[in-house]
Amino acid sequence: MAKNEKPPKPNLKVRDEYRECHQRTQITFRHNQRKIWHPRLRSYNHIEFHRSRTYGGFLARLGLFFLEIYDGLKKGYQAFHKWLFPQRDKIYGHPSADTVVSGRITFGQKQKDLDVPISNMHLELWGRAYWGGYRKLSQGVTDRDGRFSLPYDLHYARRWWMRRIWLGIYHTGHEHFTERVVRIPDYTLFTKVPILQGDLVGTEMDLNTIQLFYWEYRQDTPLPRVVIRDHDKDTPDQYSPGRLAAIEKQFIPIELIKVKHLDMIKFAPGKLTYEKMQADYPENLTSCLKPKNPDTPDITRGDDWFGERMMNGMYASDFDRDPRNPDLYWIHYHWNSYDKNPHYYAMPDVDVWFRLKPDGLPLPVRITLTGPLRADDSDPRAKHTFTPEDGAKWQAAKRVARVSGAIYTEVAHHFAGTHLNVEQYAIAAFRNLHLSPIAGLLKSFLRSVVLVNHTADRILVGNGYITSACALTPKGLDQVVMNVMGTLDWKHFKPMIPLSEAHVFAKAANLYWDIVAQYVSDYIEYPPYHERILEHWYEVYRFSEDAVNHSVPAFLCNFLRSALLDKSGKPGPGHSAGWYQTGNRMNLNDDRPVVDGVPRAVSRITMAKEREGVTDADLANLKQVCTYIIFQATFGHTWANSKQYDDIGEVKYCSLGLRFGTGPDGVLGPESDTSIAPDLTRATQMMWWSNMLSRTGYGFITANEDKDVSPHMIEALEKHRAAFADLGFDIDTIQSRTNI
């Protein structure tokens, strides 16, 4: 194309239909309200892909109605109590340095964390009078070794009217920002340590080592995951009340559809068809675009659509150039090295080659499927290549590629790339960031992720939905997740370089990245914050150490290793040939930190423990890692999560697995062959999934429901609203946390 020649516009008619359907099926979060007669959800922790814990019986609902009244009264009483007995921020008495309550706080997991101190933990010594009044006697923080010493007024603490005394251990939860944009650390009570009033007799009262079971790493998995002992009662993090109320309203109607379908399958076999099932759920993008006239070609099954969705849909694929033919772009989903159950579901390796059209969108030109395509095939190396000339087989091959891409996107991009990726930083942040302003920068974005991941362990991965709907076994799925996590690092990360003007995903990602990077840089450079970040640099050091020490081993598949690296393990001629797309991927030039003899995926932020040792590179690393975390927890997750409904919201178009089917062509049979699509149970469960994940939501940056997103961040985003809209992206849909 000549330089001054404008790229041709994509087919306008298609764009108009697309825009209309996009509008029609876009998610507003305002419908799907729970009606008064709807059953109630026990809690978000109890959703299940079979049957969620809901209360449906009349008596149960009546009981729940009264329970809600009771809860309301309790909340009212608590508010009244708070008003009547305020916990004032004032130290009573005249504390003396000679009379202290001391101790040491460490993490509390046996054998692992017992000697690891928790530093900079906020502490308050409280007393309560017989008449109910609260008296703050002292406050302070733990030092680097986890030790504390709180001076108090002995005579005040031992007054006859003092009923009980306790040490409150507070953690900085997520942050609040006032209208005046002042950051307020939100000290939330983590636990109370009761103190016998009689034990306060002056000099030093030592509470000894207090072990907190606080953001502990799980020991039963090599992944950096947090221990959640009881999903309802003993979690390191909590959903905000608004989040729980929203999910119940949005979720119940979806759950009811699924329950109806499961009942029909059980009690009236044959009554439920794929069409009926599809019609019961809200219309999605691809079903909306279905032509009314059967003679009109269905654009959603066309090659243009396929290419566009691979580039800008939920898939947002990483396009490499074909090493053997640089004119072609190549994406691949290879499953052959993972543990699979080969008998029921087809899961061949998929390689798709594209040509970039003049309008900048990719067009598939060749698909190679490697592995069995029929139940009676057994050769895992059998290659089947298809081109557009293959007619119906080409259509079927695209469907296999779509499904393979959907599973990969769900597991690699969505679950591992955002959910688990963000969790590893969330644990390191909540364990270590307390007084550093970096806590205020990050924690709001890291909220809830460990909770939703815990739910996903049960219903999505492990023995959850995915392994019931495709050939991957729980072990195979774990292997995928481990390998993907092994390729994720914050260092030198950049979103993908746009392949063309039409690559709106990459353009939006880059625009968003730049906004976050600027916001992070401004935040860290803001003099009062900068000073405090340096003052509490040890927190950053500990954050970095925890992230690195618990990171999974770095991973690069055998093919890429031989294609890209030289003998010394450094990028070689293959890498510099330029076919390998480096954006959105781990930088292979970086040295991996070695822990216990194993090179790790996550890079160190700093080696400095004290402010004196902090280099410009350390500060640049800090900015980069914060930008990366915020990017992944917000935009990265939103893109993968919210577009599921567009791309896996019509069972026959795409699903999270395909059966071999009973026809002569196996999985390459037509869409009308319902022996290929997931069975009805898995089909309705899949629709439930994509609805539940994409059509429910709470915690958006611009909506700022919990008032914990910095107004600066919102302002920066708002400034670019039009630019995002030009890319067809609504900034109001960007979630401020990974919570679904």
Partner: protein, 363 residues
């Protein structure tokens, strides 16, 4: 309404609080002494602690040229009859790790005296006020020679006192250093308010025995058990001391430290768990004890020492609450009834048996 608006009300409030605190101190120490009298002195016929001891008789001579302002009682060069008693708290086994003591009486009597002093090993104490002493008593929980476990966990200051005061297998009572730890009044003839702390050390400079080495410091302070394979008998230390006296008199130096009271003194000056800085508060010789003859078990047991046996101007400092550092001595002063009741009970019910040299260890 600020306190300044009603100075009278404020004064009344202060008076009420102070009176209340003193009443609580009076009540607490009274109840404690009552219980001690009934259960310790009368029913068990024992001292509160330090039952395991040996007395000696001899004389005391004040130094000729003291280097400090004199209290009228301290006449340079004067010699007085004197009795002392060495003890160990609170087990009946000399080979156990224990705080050792010396009690001094400037009279050759069992009780009446113009001046009594009670001192323990350790420059600092294990408790610092009546309130902390009551905790100390509460958390005693003796079992197989281990006690005060919870107390030492709660109060590092107490544990520090224990490590300072505990002695493992000293060779003799006469080579230990003993400290009064708590300060007393010292009103000399110049009428300047001063506080005094006393100590007793060997007259000749000899190394102190029984100090806890690094190994001993690894053993938690509450564990006072004898060492495994211990060959020393339950009475070895008393027997060694008696043998030592048979060879000739034993001499001790009594020294004192003075602190001139000032308005900006911190209350910590009274804290018996803090030593006074020796550079600014040097130890000065007060006199010398010459112990000549050991007393037998029954005579040693019948002796009582009292904090009420002190001349005016050298007596205990006033205490205002159970948290006051001086409340310890207030409590001791009020415990005469328990001390006297023990003697009365012994007269009534007989002498408690001497400690046998048997294998019933860690008791």
């Amino acid at each position: 309404m600020s306190k300044q608006s009603f100075p009278l009300l404020s004064a009344l409030r202060t008076w009420l609080v102070r009176t209340g605190n003193r009443f609580v101190l009076w009540l607490y120490t009274g109840v404690f002494n009552l219980l001690l009298t009934i259960f310790g002195s009368i029913l068990a016929r024992t001292r509160m602690s330090h039952n395991n001891g040996i007395g000696a008789v001899g004389s005391f001579r004040f130094v000729d040229n003291p280097k400090f302002p004199l209290h009228p009682f301290f006449e340079p060069g004067k010699t007085m009859p004197c009795r002392i008693r060495h003890g160990a708290a609170s087990f009946h086994d000399d080979a156990m790790r224990a705080v050792r003591s010396i009690s001094i009486k400037l009279a050759d009597t069992r009780s009446a005296s113009p001046f009594d002093l009670e001192l323990n090993t350790g420059v600092v104490a294990l408790f610092w006020s009546a309130a902390s002493f009551l905790r100390f008593a509460k958390y005693k929980k003796t079992m197989y020679g281990i006690q005060y476990h919870q107390y030492y966990r709660n109060y590092p200051v107490g544990a520090r006192g224990a490590y300072a005061g505990l002695r493992r297998n000293p060779t003799s009572f006469d080579n230990l250093h003993y400290y009064s730890q708590t300060p007393f009044w010292y009103i000399a003839t110049d009428n300047v308010k001063r506080y005094v702390k006393y100590r007793v050390v060997p007259a000749e400079e000899v190394p102190e025995s029984g100090l806890l080495d690094d190994y001993e410091r690894l053993i938690e302070p509450g564990n006072q058990r004898i060492l495994p394979g211990e060959t020393r008998s339950r009475n070895y230390l008393k027997e060694a001391y008696a043998r030592r006296l048979q060879q000739g008199p034993v001499f001790y130096k009594v020294q004192l430290q003075l602190h001139t009271a000032s308005d900006d003194d911190s209350m910590e000056i009274f804290n018996c768990c803090r030593e006074w800085d020796e550079a600014s508060h040097p130890w000065m010789d007060l006199g010398e004890i010459r112990a000549e003859r050991a007393l037998d078990w029954s005579e040693s047991t019948l002796m009582l020492f009292s904090m009420n046996n002190m001349p005016k101007g050298l007596d205990a400092l006033p205490a205002y609450s159970i948290f006051d550092y001086n409340s310890l001595n207030y409590m001791r002063k009020r415990s005469d009834i328990a001390r006297k009741a023990r003697i009365f009970a012994i007269k009534l019910f007989g002498m408690p048996p001497e400690i046998p040299n048997d294998d019933n260890r860690n008791q």
